[in-house]
């Protein structure tokens, strides 16, 4: 546990090496200092060392500059969250020191740039202070006109020294990062790294060494959620898409724009969000499930066309990387407040599928699942991720791409006749024929947003509207019935069941572990298929006294968050309550536990 560091690093102690299982390092500086790069190197190193890793970052919504942090938790055991408190804080500026010292564990180490930071004497008793002139050393190491550019790499050298990290592996990572650039850039980076590594760290403290991680068998890959999602779509066979830039979705469209040409595909940057979804639907109509995506405000703009895809029953994948809303809101913060629009956004009865990956690995596999659901049920599927999962880096077992990659090329075999909206089909599932397909009867279908008959021709018939509305609903009910019931984390019976969805799985599970270690009866489930929900949740709920839905959104007018409302509506169960927050930051484990405690001790309020 990370407690070990605090316990073993005593000021003035003899230099020695202590074994640790994991560490949480928070790097605080400005966004242009390349602090994300340090975090990225550490995360990638952890992945290559078969360690587990999770990162968390904040980026300012300013165009250039602004305070920024990057937190890495890496270790030899299971890493579920990016950590409540840091063991080590690296502070580049006075504001970094002042704002983030409180995030440091008592007795933890604050490593600060003594060229910029004047430590507060008052705090010296609580935290181990280590001042190193990082900026000065960088100028010394690199020389020339670069000023202190490269101090992030020097700082990486300091961390490498402190935690006895694998130097050849880090050198290789630095080499890969700067490959193809001017060779002097790589030389400078390595010079800065070694200058950091050679620093005696004030000769006052011990260093640490990770205990060996258990072999995971097979390679790990390290990436963030946006990358995993983008590559997942490619593996799924998606070859066409369209989008408009918006944070934090843009990374995915940049990746697809860059990668798809290799596969003979195209991603189009359109003039606006509406054109993006319209063009993607056009691509799907042309025969192959296409993708569009956005964040918050962009999703609002897309809802009319989304409604068309529901009505015309056209497959489509829509990625929503949620951020703080409403309106422009908090563009670089984390929130799970788009669940309502994802499930219900738009006018009319418009059932669609909504799924939510719980971690970076899920982003890859659920992108494939989304494509397959869209294709099989001829329906738009929304993948809900959020700013947290989009930018967080995790290591996971490398997928077997030969097995996983699929071909979803359209079939143009001529058919005798075709009715896309065939009412006699079981489960109400529509199939479309792409243009180019010959229909020997000479009767061709129209796809339309008007209520229609079985061939797609407009109708004002009340009976057909009822039948078609039911058809669009029934196919999702059929999907719901086929979904697996979520596995319970912890015993199937007890006092409290925490229910989560999306990026919060890690901290919720860690909360369960911590509570159980303290003797409390807490379990959790994580819902990945949010619309339709799987059947059978009521059986799980029946095993607990309290069902607390943990969400990063507002408790709403009636006291329950967005998923909470749905679960209450479906199960009419008063023991379902919400634990909600809107501070734009990931859940801390202790926050969940404290809130759960308060909620339960308050009794079943609002009955």
């Amino acid at each position: 546990m990370s407690d070990s560091i605090a316990a073993m690093s005593s000021p003035g102690g003899a230099a020695k090496v202590s074994s640790i299982n994991e560490v949480v390092i928070r790097i605080a500086g400005n966004s242009q200092d390349g602090i994300q790069a340090i975090g990225g190197f550490l995360a990638r190193l952890a992945g290559r060392s078969e360690q587990e890793v999770m990162t968390f970052m904040t980026i300012p919504a300013t165009i250039s500059g602004g305070a920024s942090i990057f937190q890495v938790r890496m270790g030899s055991g299971e890493v579920l969250s990016s950590g409540d408190e840091a063991d080590v804080l690296m502070a580049f500026y006075q504001h970094s020191y002042d704002s983030h010292l409180s995030s440091l564990k008592k007795g933890g180490i604050v490593l600060f740039d003594s060229d910029h930071v004047v430590p507060n004497e008052e705090f010296k008793k609580d935290y181990h202070h280590l001042g190193i002139p990082i900026s000065g050393l960088t100028v010394e190491a690199i020389g020339g006109t670069a000023k202190d550019k490269g101090k992030n790499i020097l700082a990486l050298g300091l961390i490498a020294k402190m935690f006895d990290l694998n130097i050849p592996k880090l050198e290789k990572l630095i080499g890969e990062r700067f490959t193809g650039k001017d060779p002097s850039i790589l030389n400078n980076a390595l010079a800065a790294f070694h200058a950091g590594y050679a620093n005696p760290l004030g000769n006052v403290m011990e260093t640490f060494k990770f205990v060996a991680a258990q072999s995971k068998g097979g390679h790990q890959v390290v990436m963030n959620g946006n990358e995993a999602l983008g590559y997942g779509l490619i593996a799924a066979g998606v070859r066409f898409g369209a989008g408009y830039p918006i944070t934090p979705w843009s990374d995915i469209m940049e990746l697809l724009r860059r990668e798809l040409p290799k596969y003979g595909g195209t991603f189009v940057q359109t003039e606006d969000e509406i054109a993006a979804i319209s063009m993607a639907i056009g691509g799907s109509y042309a025969g192959r499930v296409a993708v569009t995506g956005s964040s918050g405000p962009g999703i609002s703009l897309k809802t009319e066309a989304l409604g068309w895809a529901v009505m015309a029953e056209m497959p489509l994948v829509i990625v929503d990387v949620q951020r703080g809303g409403p309106s422009t809101g908090m563009p670089t913060n984390i929130e799970q407040s788009d669940l309502n629009i994802a499930i219900n956004g738009g006018h009319g009865d418009s059932p669609r599928v909504v799924i939510a990956p719980a971690n970076v690995e899920d982003c890859f596999y659920m992108a494939i699942e989304a494509v397959n659901i869209a294709k099989k049920y001829s329906v738009p599927v929304i993948i809900l991720t959020d700013q947290g999962i989009a930018t967080r880096i995790e290591a996971f077992t490398e997928p077997n791409l030969e097995k996983v990659c699929q071909d979803i090329s359209p079939d143009f075999t001529p058919v005798a006749e075709h009715k896309p909206y065939d009412l006699s089909k079981p489960d109400g599932i529509t199939t479309h024929l792409p243009p180019g397909t010959k229909i020997n009867s000479g009767k061709y279908p129209i796809v339309t947003g008007l209520e229609h008959d079985e061939l797609g021709h407009p109708t004002g018939s009340p009976k057909l509207h009822m039948q078609m509305t039911a058809k669009r609903r029934k196919k999702l009910q059929a999907l719901g019935a086929s979904l697996p019931v979520p596995k319970i984390y912890g015993p199937p019976e007890g006092n409290i069941l925490l229910v989560g969805w999306g990026s919060t799985e890690g901290p919720i599970r860690e909360a369960v572990d911590r509570a159980r270690a303290a003797g409390d009866s807490v379990s959790s489930i994580h819902i990945k298929h949010v619309n339709p929900l799987p059947n059978g949740l009521e059986n799980i709920f029946s095993g607990f006294n309290h069902v607390l839905v943990v969400e990063m959104n507002d408790e709403g007018l009636y006291g329950f968050g967005q998923l909470g409302q749905i679960l209450r509506a479906r199960y009419c169960d008063a023991k379902i309550q919400g634990i909600n927050k809107t501070d734009g930051l990931t859940w801390k484990v202790k926050e969940i536990l404290e809130r759960a405690k308060t909620n339960v001790s308050a009794g079943l309020r609002k009955l």
Binding site: G47, R48, H219, Q220, V221, V222, E227, Y231, A235, G237, R239, F240, A242, E259, P261, K262, Y263, G264, G265, T266, V268, T270, E271, D272, I274, A275, S278, M279, A280, I281, G282, G283, S284, Y285, A286, G287, R288, A290, A305, W308, E398, L401, C405, S409, P410, F412, L433, P434, P435, G436, T437, K438, I439, G442, Y444, I446, V447, T448, G449, P458
Partner: protein, 317 residues
């Protein structure tokens, strides 16, 4: 002529590798008859100009021997946008103003198809104005025929973006006060590579423009005056010789590659000129994307898709 309507083009080095149907290119087929190509009976008012545009689309299909399954007709919302229902072929009735991006999605992923988009002035220049500009500037290969009647007909007589000043509608009882859009100028300045003007009262001319537009490799735009007999009767009489007007063809001396001359032609007061105002050959977005693809695919020749992806994953270890 554009081969895409009757046969499948070469697949190599083309985004056609994504999704082109394999159809024997040599198959002989007769042209479709009007009976085979007509679907629902149009819901337009008797005397509507849109009837003649539809009839001439049928004629085009017949004359050029297009294959049933290769015809893709897309529309947005409006009276004229009902068009696809009346054509017995693959068709799409999309949402208001967004037919062009939808059609771009088809065009850019299916080089074997030539997409026709039909719509009205509200769809094209009001709610869909942004898409008109951007589809034109990107030069996405398709034909866009705007049936311009200078009024909102489906919603029963409101001012449209092409209604002339002073036109009395339900939203401007005292007469329209907003300056109208000039579709030809709009198209030329947006970068459309084929810009033509015609009117429903001259069938041969409409057909000639449709043929020329279809054969153009790029974004081809036709403004077709199409009278709304219900809400704007007589709007185009001045262009109809049978009603005492004049039908002036674009002068033979006009250089269709001269953007400024085209713009000048478009500035003439109603009834102005009819014919091709502007036509230049510029690489289409379709061709440019295919070029990017060919260049990137040449670096991964012989690799299966999963092997291409594996190269990325190797770097993420």
């Amino acid at each position: 002529m554009s081969q895409t309507l009757t046969e499948t083009p070469e697949r190599a080095g083309n985004i056609a590798t994504v999704a082109a149907p394999v159809v024997p290119a040599t198959e002989e087929r007769k042209g479709l008859t009007k009976k085979e190509i007509a679907a629902d009976h149009p819901t337009w008012c008797p005397g509507c100009g849109d009837f003649s545009v539809l009839a001439l689309y049928f004629k085009l299909i017949e004359k050029r021997k297009m294959w049933h399954e290769k015809i893709t007709t897309v529309a947005g919302i409006g009276c004229s946008s009902r068009f696809p229902y009346f054509v017995q072929a693959h068709g799409v009735h999309f949402i208001h103003g967004r037919a062009l991006p939808f059609a771009s999605g088809i065009s850019l992923s299916r080089p074997d198809l030539h997409v026709f988009v039909f719509g009205g002035d509200g769809d094209a220049f009001s709610i869909g104005g942004n898409h008109f500009n951007h589809t034109a500037r990107k030069n996405v290969k398709m034909t866009y025929c705007v049936m311009d009647n200078w009024v909102y007909g489906l919603t029963k007589k409101q001012t449209s973006p092409t209604s002339p000043l002073g036109f009395k509608s339900k939203t401007d009882q005292w007469g329209a006060v907003d300056y109208p859009i000039n579709p030809m100028k709009q198209a030329i300045s947006a970068g459309a590579t084929f810009v033509a003007r015609t009117t429903h009262t001259n069938p041969n001319h409409v057909l000639a423009m449709m043929e020329a537009a279809m054969d153009h490799d790029g974004f081809s735009f036709i403004e077709c005056l199409s009278e709304c007999v219900e809400f704007y009767e007589g709007a185009f009489d001045a262009s109809n010789p049978r009603k005492g007007g004049v039908f002036n063809e674009v002068p033979k001396s006009h250089d269709v590659t001269d953007e400024f001359a085209a713009y000048k032609l478009a500035s003439e007061p109603f009834p102005g000129n009819f014919g091709i105002f502007y036509k230049v050959n510029k690489p289409t977005k379709n061709a440019k994307e295919a070029e990017i693809n060919a260049s990137y695919q040449s670096k991964v020749t012989g690799l299966k898709d999963w092997q291409i992806l594996q190269k990325n994953f190797d770097k993420l270890r």
